[in-house]
Symmetry: C2
DNA sequence: TTATTTATGTAGTGTTATAACCTATATGAA
DNA sequence: TTCATATAGGTTATAACACTACATAAATAA
């Protein structure tokens, strides 16, 4: 039942790691960002970020424990969570609350004021987009309500084009 | 530290239960909705829905376990989750993924195509709004991307007017 | 250097959600 | 009514996700 697979399960079925050149570029850029802010992209944090860039989709915290543990000494969950906290703080990673999962910020929308994640209920694919229109209307609503936005990230669930027919 | 209050804690400090007449009306309306759809609003489901309508804000699943357990026989978590699944299915309740919490759909926006929840990082207040503009732009993006929306609910975190100064 | 801060290691626990299996109740057809 | 089927709930156990508390190590500042 493909639609009920846990992150854990899906990981083992995941697409092959995307182009490692792209990952390297993303890491290099992240290092620059951290240096400019005086933040320390330590080896652990870097490995977590690399892992997230190295897969096509979100990973759960325990997926990262397993993934990084398989290529060296196993880290405790709290170690992963601490690295994730840092990366989220630096806006290099997003937490997908609706999936209890974490995803590397795509370089293409970095700097965008508001990003939205389209999350497919079917295959779990996550599509990060920067829509100025959505950003604007959301900000307008927030202003009307007197809200000062902190998270400008929207998670929208639905079914991607490929998964429309199923169920 | 007001900003780290658990749902549990906030529950005990919560505003007095809102007007029980309002709750009763909401339940009556929910019953009608279920009847018309051939869905069964059983006593357990009804009690969960009443509890959610009876408080001002979201409740965690285990808050519901405690709350309903205190007024009768304690139910197992799975029982609460099953009731919540039903109520969410009927769109009588929303799950706030970013808070791991559940909130009764407000009657005022019932029937709206897209609702947005403004969740305050400070006080935890949740404001359910129906913004046609946001709904429209979100749907446009979804259409452009070939997504068929299922959840038309957006969770936007920020800081409400009262909590702007803090931190 | 020493003091201070920041990062990580380690153990245990807390919190949220579901699996598996069984029983009871409701509903519909014969 | 009786039987078949579907739906709801009971019970136990466990999976999955996240953090507290405290010790140690490494980096940075004084
Ligand atoms: Zn499958
Ligand atoms: Zn899909
Ligand atoms: Zn208090
Ligand atoms: Zn607030």
């Amino acid at each position: 039942m493909a639609h009920a697979l846990s992150l854990h399960h899906r990981l083992s079925h995941a697409d092959a790691p995307t182009d490692s050149d792209r990952t390297e570029r993303a890491i290099a850029q992240s290092e620059a960002v951290c240096r400019s802010k005086g933040a320390r992209l330590t080896p652990i944090r870097r490995r977590v970020l690399e892992a997230l860039h190295g897969v096509d989709g979100p990973l759960g915290a325990y997926d990262l424990v397993d993934l990084l543990g398989s290529q060296g000494r196993r880290m405790a969950p709290i170690t992963i969570y601490r690295a994730l906290d840092f990366l989220i703080e630096q806006e290099l990673v997003h937490r997908l609350a609706s999936r209890n999962a974490y995803i590397a910020s795509s370089g293409t929308v970095a700097g965008a004021r508001t990003t939205a994640f389209l999350i497919c209920d079917g295959c779990g694919d996550v599509n990060e987009i920067a829509s100025p229109d959505v950003a604007e209307t959301v900000l307008k609503v927030l202003r009307d309500q007197g809200y000062q936005p902190r998270t400008k990230v929207l998670e929208i669930t639905g079914r991607c084009a490929r998964c429309q027919d199923v169920h």
